[in-house]
C-alpha cells in the first residue's frame, strides 16, 4: 500500500517536468530549424538532434551522479563513510578520462562526416539541374537575381520545389548572412567575395529567411519571403514578372537600390543587367555608401536612418 | 644509516619511488617532511632573475603583436588594388645599410652591457651613445625611405599591401624610436645614479629589448624585403 502511494507520488512528481520538457521539445519543433523542408536542413537537423541525444546520455547520468554524491555524503549523513585522505584512484581516473574521450571521438566522427556531407560548396546530387540564384545583401534588404530567367526580385525568393537551388551570394555593403531556417545551412554574405550555397525545398510551402549577421540599424527588418512552389507555378511566376509592368534592374535602378532603406516591400524587376552581379561581386561597382558622416550638429554621433525610411 | 636502519642511498631511492613528485606527506601529518624540488628548495628567485624573466615574458607578448602584423602582411601581400607591387617599392641597398646599422647597434649594446658588468661608467655611456646613434641612423634611413615613397604617391592609403607594408615596417620603427627614448633615459640615469641595483636591472631589460628588435628586423628584412625584391636587387 505504502509502495503504491510512493509510486504514484513519484509519478505525479515526475510527470510535470516530463510534460514541460515534452512541450519544450514540441514547441521547438514547428517552424524553426528542427522542422526542415529540404534535405540540407534535414541533414543539419538530424546531426544536431543525434549529437544532442548522445551527449545527453552522458550528461544526465553525470548530473544525477553529482547530486547523489553531494546528497549522500552530506555532513549530516552519519551513515556515509568518511575517507579524509582518499584523493586518488587509478581506476576511476581511467574511466573518467575515457568517458569524454570516447564521446568526443564519436562526435569527431559526426563532425568529419557531417562537415563534408553538408558542405555549402557541395552541389546537391539531383536529376534536375540546379536553379541559379544570385544574392546580393544590401542595406537593409536582399536582392535576388535569376540570371537564366533574366529577372530579379527584392525581399522575395521564389523557388521550384524538389529542385536544388545554387546560391551565389555576395554583399554590397557590410557582412550579412543568408539564412532560411527551414531550408538549412546559412552562409555569410561578404563584400568582394562570392559564397556558394546549395539548398533544396522538398515540397511547396511558405517560408521566411533573414540575415543572421548584424549589419546596422536596419538589421531587424532584413527578412525576406520565401515561397517554394511546384515547377509549373514557378515558370508561371517567372513569366508574369517578365511580362508585368515592373521596372528593369539596370545600373541606374541598382544605384538607387543601394541607398540605405528598410522595410522594403517585396518587389520584382522584369529585366536585369546580365553583368550586374559580377560587377557587384568584384566591386567594379563600388560598395554601397554608409550612413551620412556626422556634421557638427551631431558631434560624433552618426546620423541613422533607423525607422524613418 | 637513517632512523629506519637502511643506508641513506636506499632510503633515498625508496623515497623517490614512493613519492616521485616530492609531494610530501600524502597522509597528512605523520611522515617526515620532504624538501621540494626546483624553487621548492630555495624559495623565491632573486630580484634580478625575476625582473629579467618578467621582461622576457613581455618580449614574448610583443613578438605576438609583431606576428599579427606579419600575418596581415602575408595575407595582404598580393592585395595591390591595381597599385604598385612589393617588388616595385623595395629598395635593397638602403635596407642593407639599415640592417648594418641595426646589427652593429646590437653589438655595441652588448659591449655596453659588458662595460656595465665591469662597472665602467665611461665605457657604458660611450657604447650606449654609439648604440643610440646607430639606432637613430636606422630610423632616419627608414623615414627617408617612407618620405621617398610618399613623394612618389606610394602611401599606405593606396592599397592593402601597402597598408601592411607600412604598418609592419612602421611598427618596428616605432619600437626602435621608443627604444631610443628609453636609451636616452637610461644614459641619464646611469650618469646620475651610477650602477645601483635597479639601474642594472633596467639595463638588462633594455638590452633584451634592443636585441629582440634586432631579431624582429631580421624577420622583416627577410620576409618583406628579401622575399619581396626582384632578382636584380635594385629598387624601382
Amino acid at each position: 500500500m505504502g509502495l503504491h502511494v510512493l509510486k504514484s507520488t513519484l509519478f505525479r512528481a515526475c510527470r510535470s517536468p516530463i510534460l514541460s520538457l515534452l512541450s519544450f521539445g514540441l514547441a521547438s519543433c514547428s517552424g524553426g530549424v528542427l522542422d526542415p523542408l529540404g534535405r540540407v536542413g534535414a541533414d543539419d537537423a538530424s546531426i544536431l538532434i543525434d549529437a544532442t541525444v548522445v551527449m545527453l546520455a552522458i550528461v544526465i547520468p553525470t548530473i544525477l551522479l553529482a547530486f547523489w554524491m553531494a546528497w549522500h555524503y552530506r555532513a549530516s549523513n552519519g551513515k556515509a563513510e568518511y575517507l579524509p585522505y582518499w584523493s586518488y584512484s587509478g581506476r576511476i581516473e581511467a574511466v573518467v578520462w575515457w568517458i569524454p574521450i570516447l564521446t568526443i571521438m564519436f562526435i569527431g566522427g559526426v563532425i568529419w562526416i557531417g562537415s563534408y556531407k553538408v558542405d555549402p560548396f557541395r552541389p546537391l546530387p539531383s536529376r534536375t539541374p540546379p536553379l541559379e540564384v544570385q544574392v546580393v545583401a544590401l542595406d537593409w534588404k536582399w536582392l535576388f537575381i535569376y540570371p537564366r530567367q533574366g529577372i530579379a526580385s527584392v525581399n522575395q525568393l521564389v523557388v521550384p520545389a524538389s529542385t536544388p537551388v545554387h546560391f551565389s551570394i555576395t554583399s554590397a555593403s557590410v557582412f550579412n548572412a543568408f539564412f532560411v531556417p527551414r531550408l538549412g545551412s546559412m552562409i555569410y554574405a561578404m563584400p568582394g567575395m562570392v559564397s556558394q550555397l546549395y539548398l533544396e525545398a522538398d515540397h511547396p510551402a511558405r517560408l521566411w529567411g533573414t540575415s543572421a549577421q548584424f549589419s546596422g540599424d536596419g538589421f531587424s527588418d532584413m527578412q525576406f519571403q520565401v515561397r517554394s512552389v511546384p515547377e509549373a507555378d514557378f515558370q508561371a511566376w517567372v513569366a508574369s514578372v517578365r511580362g508585368g509592368g515592373s521596372p528593369s534592374l539596370d545600373r541606374a535602378t541598382y544605384a538607387e537600390l543601394m541607398h540605405p532603406s528598410q522595410r522594403v516591400p517585396p518587389t520584382t524587376y522584369h529585366a536585369v543587367d546580365a553583368q550586374l552581379f559580377q560587377d557587384v561581386a568584384s566591386q567594379k561597382i563600388p560598395p554601397a555608401p554608409g550612413p551620412e558622416p556626422e556634421g557638427p550638429q551631431h558631434a560624433g554621433r552618426e546620423v541613422s536612418t533607423g525607422g524613418r525610411d | 644509516m637513517t632512523d629506519s636502519g637502511l643506508p641513506a642511498s636506499v632510503a633515498a631511492i625508496r623515497r623517490v619511488q614512493q613519492d616521485p613528485n616530492r609531494l610530501g606527506q600524502r597522509r597528512h601529518g605523520s611522515t617526515e617532511p620532504v624538501e621540494g624540488v626546483g624553487l621548492g628548495t630555495t624559495g623565491p628567485a632573486t630580484k634580478r632573475i625575476i625582473v629579467g624573466y618578467g621582461f622576457w615574458i613581455f618580449l614574448l607578448s610583443d613578438i605576438v603583436v609583431f606576428s599579427c602584423f606579419f600575418a596581415a602582411f602575408a595575407v595582404q601581400r598580393g592585395a595591390t588594388a591595381g597599385g604598385p607591387t612589393l617588388e616595385q617599392i623595395v629598395d635593397i641597398r638602403r635596407v642593407a645599410f639599415e640592417t648594418a646599422a641595426l646589427l652593429l647597434s646590437s653589438y655595441t649594446c652588448m659591449l655596453s652591457f659588458a662595460a656595465t658588468n665591469a662597472r665602467s661608467r665611461l665605457w657604458t655611456q660611450i657604447f650606449l651613445l654609439v648604440t643610440g646613434v646607430l639606432g637613430l641612423v636606422f630610423v632616419l634611413l627608414e623615414v627617408q625611405e617612407f618620405a621617398e615613397l610618399a613623394g612618389r604617391g606610394i602611401t599606405p592609403q593606396r592599397s592593402g599591401m601597402l597598408t601592411s607594408f607600412f604598418g609592419l615596417v612602421g611598427l618596428h620603427g616605432v619600437h626602435v624610436t621608443i627604444g631610443g627614448m628609453w636609451l636616452a633615459t637610461m644614459m641619464a640615469q646611469v650618469q646620475v645614479k651610477g650602477f645601483r641595483r635597479e639601474i642594472v636591472h633596467r639595463l638588462i631589460c633594455f638590452n633584451l629589448f634592443w636585441h629582440a628588435l634586432d631579431i624582429v628586423w631580421i624577420g622583416i628584412f627577410t620576409i618583406v624585403y628579401l622575399m619581396g625584391s626582384n632578382s636584380t636587387g635594385s629598387g624601382a
Binding site: M190, F219, E302 | G38, Q76, Q157
Partner: protein, 670 residues
C-alpha cells in the same frame, strides 16, 4: 580647437541616456562629496589609490568588476524588455540606441566586469597561496589596475558625451570602418579596450612571473593549490592572446584614423582577416575567464567536503591541456564564413577535444565529494549550481562545435543562450562563490548566510527562466541583436525570458542586501581566527584580513595542502609550532604612478576619440614624464622593524591558540 567635440555631443534629445547620465553623475558627485566631507581622502590616497599591495589591488579590481557587472546587467534588462515590448512594434529603444546597448552590454560584461573580477581574485589569492609577500612587480600591478579602470571610465563617459559603438561587442568590419560607422562610437570602444587591454597584459605578465619564480620555500609546482595552476594557465593565455587583440584593434584604429586598408571593403582590405585575428584572441579570452573559475571551484570542493581534491595531477594536466588547446579552436566562431569542409572539420574536432579536459575536471570535483562530509555553505550551493548549469552549457557548446549544427544556429539566440550558460554558470557563479568564500579573509567578517542563500536561488532559477526560452527561440530561427521582432509566434518565449529577468533582479537585490546587512552586522559576523571554513591552503594561515606583509615568516612548505599539514600537526602535538625568529621585512613603498599614468591615459584616450590632437600630445607627454619621474625615485622599499612584525604575529598566534582549542575539542568529540 576641440576636434569633433561640441555641445551637441551631449544627448539632450534622448531621455534615457540623459537621465541615466544625470543619475550617475549625481551619484558620483555625491560619493565624492561624502568622502571630502568625512575627510577620507588622505586615507583613501594612502591606503588604496597609491597602494601596491596585491590584496588592496585585488579588492579594487573586484569592486570595479562588480560595479560594471551592475551596469552590464542594467543593459541586459533593457535588452530583454525591449525585445518583449517590440513584437510587431518599435518598442521603447530606437535602433541607434538599442544597438549601442547590446554592444555596451557585451563589452562591459566581458572586458570590464568579468575580467577585472577574475584578475582581482588572482591578484588577491596567488601570493597568499604561494606563501609570498606580493606579486613579482607590485608597482606595475597598480599601473595595470588603474589602466583597466581608465578603460572602464572611457566606456562610461560615452554614455553622456557622444555615443558608444553600435557594432556588437566585437566590431566586425566593414561595419566598424569609417565608411559605415563615421561616429565616435567605435573610437570609444577602441581606445577603452586598448587601454584596459594593456592593463590586463601587465597583470598577466605579473602573475606568470609570480607563479613561476616567486614561491615560498618548499612550494614546488606539484604542491601548488590548483587555483594557482589555473591562474598560471589563464595568465599564460593572457600573455599569448591579448597582444593579438592589441594588434588587431591597432590595425582597425589605423584604418579609421589614417585611412589604412587593413579591413576595409575596398582597395585590398580584408574584413575576413579581422574576424580571424579577433577570434584568435576571443576564444582564449573566454578560457582566461573560465580557468580561474575552475580554480575557484577546485578550492571550494575540497574545503567543504573535508578532504583533498581528487586527482590533483589529472587536474593539472587537464588545465594545461585546456590552456594549450584553447589556442587552436578559434574558427568555430565563424564556421559559416565558408572556409570549406576540411578547415571546418579540423576546428570542429579541436573544439570538441577541449570538452575532454573540462569533463575530467567535472568528474574530479564530483569524486572529491566521495567519502567526504559535504557542508552546504553558500559557496557550496554556488558550486552545485555551477555543475548543473555548466554541464548543460558545455553540451550546447560541443553541439555548436559540430559545423552542420552550427550552420543552423550560428548567431542565433541558441548561441546567445549557450555562451551565457557557460559564462554565467562558470564565471559568474564562481565569482559569487569565491566572494562568499574569501570575503572573510579580505575584510575580516563573513557575509550573511541567509541573504547569500536567497541570492543563489534567485540567480540560479532566474538564470534558467531567462535563458532556457532563448534556446527555444534559437531553434525557432530567431537571430541575435534584433531591435524589434516581426514574428508574434515568438511572444510566449520572449515574455517568459522577461519573467526570468525579474527573478534575476531579485537575485541582484539580494546580493546587494547581503553586503549591506553583513557590513551592518560585521561585529556579529567577525572572523576572529582567520580560518572560518577549515581551509586547506596557505591563505587561511594568515589572520583576517592579512597584514600587509602577508606572512611574518615565509612558510617552509613540506607537502601538498600546506596549511592542512600545518593544522594537523598542530592538532596532533596539541600546540602551535614554536615562535619563529622575527626579522625585519622589506616591503615596496606605495606609489602614485599608476593613478597618475592612468589619469593622463584617460585624457589621452578621450582626446584621441574626439580628434583633439593638441590635448592628446600633451596628455601623452605628461604620462611619459610621470613615468620617467617615477623611475627617478631613490627609495623603492621600506623596512618593517622586527618588533612590529613580532607584535602582529603574536596577535595572530593568540587567535590560533583559540582555534587550536576548538579543533582539538572537535577532534575529541568525533
Amino acid at each position: 580647437m576641440f576636434g569633433k567635440l561640441n555641445l551637441s555631443a551631449i544627448p539632450l534629445g534622448q531621455p534615457i541616456p540623459l537621465i541615466t547620465s544625470l543619475v550617475v553623475i549625481l551619484i558620483v558627485l555625491g560619493v565624492l562629496t561624502l568622502i571630502t566631507v568625512k575627510k577620507w581622502w588622505p586615507y583613501l590616497w594612502r591606503e588604496w589609490i597609491t597602494s601596491v599591495d596585491h590584496k588592496r589591488i585585488g579588492v579594487m579590481y573586484s569592486a570595479l568588476g562588480v560595479l560594471m557587472l551592475l551596469r552590464g546587467f542594467a543593459d541586459a534588462i533593457m535588452m530583454r524588455t525591449q525585445q518583449a515590448a517590440a513584437i510587431n512594434a518599435m518598442g521603447y529603444l530606437p535602433p541607434e540606441h538599442y544597438d549601442q546597448i547590446f554592444t555596451a552590454h557585451g563589452t562591459i560584461m566581458i572586458l570590464f566586469g568579468a575580467m577585472p573580477l577574475v584578475l582581482g581574485f588572482m591578484n588577491f589569492l596567488v601570493p597568499l597561496q604561494l606563501g609570498v609577500r606580493d606579486v613579482a612587480f607590485p608597482t606595475f600591478n597598480s599601473v595595470g589596475f588603474w589602466l583597466s579602470a581608465s578603460g572602464a571610465l572611457l566606456v562610461n563617459v560615452s554614455l553622456f558625451v557622444g555615443e558608444f559603438a553600435r557594432t556588437g561587442w566585437l566590431p566586425y568590419p566593414p561595419l566598424s570602418e569609417t565608411a559605415y560607422t563615421p561616429g565616435v562610437g567605435v573610437d570609444y570602444y577602441l581606445w577603452a579596450v586598448q587601454i584596459s587591454g594593456i592593463g590586463t597584459l601587465i597583470a598577466g605578465i605579473n602573475i606568470v612571473t609570480t607563479v613561476l619564480k616567486l614561491r615560498c620555500r618548499g612550494m614546488s609546482y606539484m604542491r601548488m593549490p590548483v587555483f594557482c595552476w589555473t591562474a598560471l594557465c589563464a595568465c599564460l593565455l593572457i600573455v599569448a592572446a591579448f597582444p593579438v587583440l592589441t594588434a588587431t584593434l591597432a590595425m582597425l584604429t589605423l584604418d579609421r584614423y589614417l585611412g589604412f586598408h587593413y579591413f576595409t571593403n575596398t582597395a585590398g582590405g580584408n574584413p575576413m582577416m579581422f574576424v580571424n585575428l579577433v577570434w584568435a584572441w576571443g576564444h582564449p579570452e573566454v578560457y582566461i575567464l573560465v580557468l580561474p573559475a575552475f580554480g575557484i571551484f577546485s578550492e571550494i570542493f575540497p574545503t567543504f567536503s573535508g578532504k583533498p581534491l581528487f586527482g590533483y595531477r589529472s587536474m593539472v594536466v587537464a588545465t594545461l591541456f585546456i590552456c594549450i588547446v584553447s589556442m587552436t579552436v578559434w574558427l568555430h566562431h565563424f564556421f559559416t564564413m565558408g572556409a570549406g569542409a576540411a578547415v571546418n572539420t579540423f576546428f570542429g574536432i579541436s573544439s570538441s577535444i577541449i570538452a575532454v579536459g573540462t569533463g575530467v575536471k567535472i568528474y574530479n570535483w564530483i569524486f572529491t565529494m566521495y567519502g567526504g562530509r559535504v557542508r552546504f555553505e553558500v559557496p557550496m550551493l554556488w558550486s552545485m549550481g555551477f555543475i548543473f548549469t555548466f554541464i548543460i552549457g558545455g553540451l550546447t557548446g560541443v553541439l555548436l562545435a559540430v559545423p552542420p549544427a552550427d550552420f543552423l544556429t550560428h548567431n542565433s539566440m541558441f548561441l546567445v543562450a549557450h555562451f551565457h550558460n557557460v559564462i554565467i554558470g562558470a564565471v559568474v557563479f564562481a565569482i559569487f562563490a569565491g566572494m562568499d568564500y574569501w570575503f572573510p579573509k579580505a575584510f575580516g567578517f563573513r557575509l550573511h548566510k541567509g541573504w547569500g542563500i536567497a541570492a543563489f536561488w534567485f540567480a540560479f532559477i532566474g538564470f534558467w527562466v531567462t535563458f532556457a526560452p532563448l534556446y527555444v527561440l534559437g531553434l525557432l530561427g530567431m537571430t541575435r541583436r534584433l531591435q524589434h521582432i516581426n514574428f508574434p509566434e515568438w511572444r510566449p518565449w520572449l515574455y517568459a525570458s522577461v519573467v526570468g529577468v525579474a527573478i534575476l533582479i531579485l537575485g541582484v537585490i539580494s546580493q546587494v542586501v547581503q553586503f549591506v546587512v553583513s557590513i551592518r552586522d560585521r561585529e556579529k559576523l567577525r572572523d576572529v581566527t582567520g580560518d572560518p571554513w577549515d581551509g586547506r591552503s596557505l591563505e587561511w594561515a594568515t589572520p583576517s584580513p592579512p597584514p600587509f606583509f602577508n606572512f611574518a615568516v615565509m612558510p617552509n612548505v613540506e607537502g601538498e595542502e600546506a596549511y592542512w599539514g600545518i593544522k594537523q600537526r598542530a592538532v596532533e602535538t596539541q600546540q602551535l609550532s614554536p615562535e619563529p625568529q622575527y626579522e625585519p621585512i622589506e616591503m615596496p613603498v606605495n606609489s602614485g604612478v599608476g593613478f597618475y599614468t592612468a589619469f593622463f591615459t584617460s585624457v589621452f584616450g578621450f582626446a584621441m576619440i574626439w580628434h583633439i590632437w593638441w590635448l592628446a600630445i600633451l596628455a601623452f607627454a605628461a604620462a611619459f614624464a610621470g613615468f620617467v619621474f617615477f623611475a627617478w625615485r631613490d627609495v623603492h622599499e621600506f623596512e618593517v622593524p622586527a618588533e612590529e612584525v613580532a607584535r602582529v604575529d603574536r596577535a595572530r598566534r593568540a587567535a590560533r591558540e583559540a582555534l587550536l582549542e576548538r579543533l582539538s575539542q572537535q577532534g575529541a568529540m568525533s
